[in-house]
Symmetry: C2
Subunit: 322 residues, 2 copies
């Protein structure tokens, strides 16, 4: 690996001059500049980012904390984040904090040790105060764990409203809501929006709490079977929706003729599965891009006009609704 010294020697100049040309800072004669450039080319020189980072106390590394990688929603957001930051010449460190305390401990240390320039929290952590103490530019996705940390969250309330409206408009009279864990704000907000519309229309409904990603298939079946007079189902995830539709079919119901189903997230699965699932789309791309954009402003100490952003969701009508 060639260093700046090698380049300097080859170009018959000092390291300072070389530094000036690679950073395009300060004055440097056109002629010497070309000599340096030639030397760089010949030696295949790339500046050592570690040395640079050490001096500047910044690493050009952005760390993203996720709860797991196998979920389409998170994976896609992560993917978009990576695209965005690499374009801005940052690199991505992925930290999978699946509530293993030791790992989070390690990472909390690492962020300091590497002079990580920014943090994007997608994972829900219980140790937000420790993150704040890090004093690193930071944004949150999907959660609002603190007033001081800018957040980017889908308008979950609106999601509930849209789903309810669709179901009401198409004549549903008895509706089941398969929810996520109701201790999450995202979940209660969806619920609130959903409830509001249904209550305004005097539509009977009830909720069951499930895990988002590993909802118990048997639970869903039982609820469906003991409520065969329902004509609408709203699910807090597309995976739940798949289970619900399958349970309905097995119970002899037609979707959407007898029972309509709406999912949440709009993951790949909802267009693979037949009937294609009507669902509430969260704009993953918008969320990821705004997160990066906001983080960059924080890093560059620019003003950010609105700390907590709510992103519109929309209903994607496919084959499980009328």
């Amino acid at each position: 690996m060639a260093t700046i010294k090698d380049v300097a020697k080859k170009a018959h100049v000092s390291v300072a001059t070389v530094s000036r040309v690679i950073n395009q800072k300060g004055y440097v004669n056109e002629e010497t500049k070309n000599m340096v450039l030639d030397a760089i080319q010949e030696l295949n020189y790339v500046p050592n980012e570690l040395a640079r980072s050490l001096f500047q106390k910044k690493s050009s590394i952005i760390a993203v904390l996720v709860p797991h990688l196998t979920n389409y929603y998170f994976a896609d957001i992560l993917q978009i984040i990576e695209d965005e930051i690499i374009e801005k010449d940052y690199r991505l460190m992925v930290c999978n904090i699946h509530s293993i305390k030791e790992k989070e401990d390690k990472y909390l240390k690492i962020f300091d040790q590497y002079n990580v320039d920014g943090l994007i929290l997608i994972a829900n952590t219980h140790r937000i105060e420790e993150y704040k103490k890090l004093d690193i530019p930071m944004v949150e996705i999907d959660h609002k764990l603190s007033e001081d940390i800018p957040s980017i969250i889908s308008n979950n309330y609106q999601g509930g409203v849209l789903a309810a409206q669709k179901l009401v408009d198409t004549g549903c009279k008895k509706i089941i809501h398969f929810r996520g864990p109701s201790d999450l704000v995202t979940v209660t907000e969806r619920s609130d929006g959903f409830q509001k519309v249904l209550q305004e229309n005097n539509i009977f409904n009830f909720s069951y709490d499930l895990d988002f990603l590993n909802p118990d298939q048997k639970d869903i079946e039982n609820v469906i079977l003991s409520n065969l007079d329902s004509d609408g189902v709203f699910c807090d995830s597309d995976i739940m929706a798949v289970h619900a539709i399958q349970a309905l079919k097995e119970a002899g119901k037609r979707v959407p003729e007898d029972v309509q189903v709406i999912g949440f997230d709009d993951i790949e699965l909802s267009t693979i599965f037949r009937p294609n699932i009507t669902t509430i789309n969260q704009s993953r791309s918008k969320i990821a891009k705004i997160a990066v954009e906001t983080l960059m402003k924080l890093i560059n100490k620019e003003e950010i006009e609105q700390a907590h952003k709510m992103i519109d969701v929309h209903l994607v009508e496919r084959e499980t609704t009328k």
Copy 2:
């Protein structure tokens, strides 16, 4: 951020001594050691990894190159890799090389600039020579792009054999094979294993090439519809299998009674979808762990007994076969 100097000052010793205690190298009096430890504690000192890396020309960063993140197979492998390496005190840099030349250019540079300690290639790259020139310890997953680079690959041939055997054993007489792109070695090997068994048993079969992850739904439908006398389908991915099963159902066929279906990968989807999909399981966990293990040996300049490892696959029998 406290530095080693601050600690030295506080403990009334030299930085050399502090360095000795944090690295547990060289002799240091028990008493002074405790003073240093106290100072470290009080100042909340963590050694700067960047300075360390600069000196040692190693960064404790492992870069993993993937083709995309939203695929369950890759995401899960990535997740296991992250678990493994963080435990060995390395950090994960995720590089999503979705054949965008500019990104790969940037990353190729970054690996040098950051003194990345190791590379895991999951993505299929056409620029293997450039990677080799990097001269960084490196392993490959799913591909064998070069003799010199250790690889970890599922036994695809065996996968084809197992699927064929199952189909033959349960009486299939006419079989469709929905393949991945046949320019991939993984695909041809599966095909070879599959063919071999079928030919030995004189079973008629034919193949259609599709994209692994975004197989054309219409293509699958058409093939199914124009071969309604088939009684077995082998798919090179579980996603293809879902499409096939759905097409079969729409064509009035029962799975597995009329037609049996076998997928590949054993992703989450195969247990969500009903009927649960019989599939060839690739041991993601084994693959990821061996990859990391091999990489560590390379990094530590230990002998590796077998450069190219083939990992057994196995048939997971679920509801789409008899």
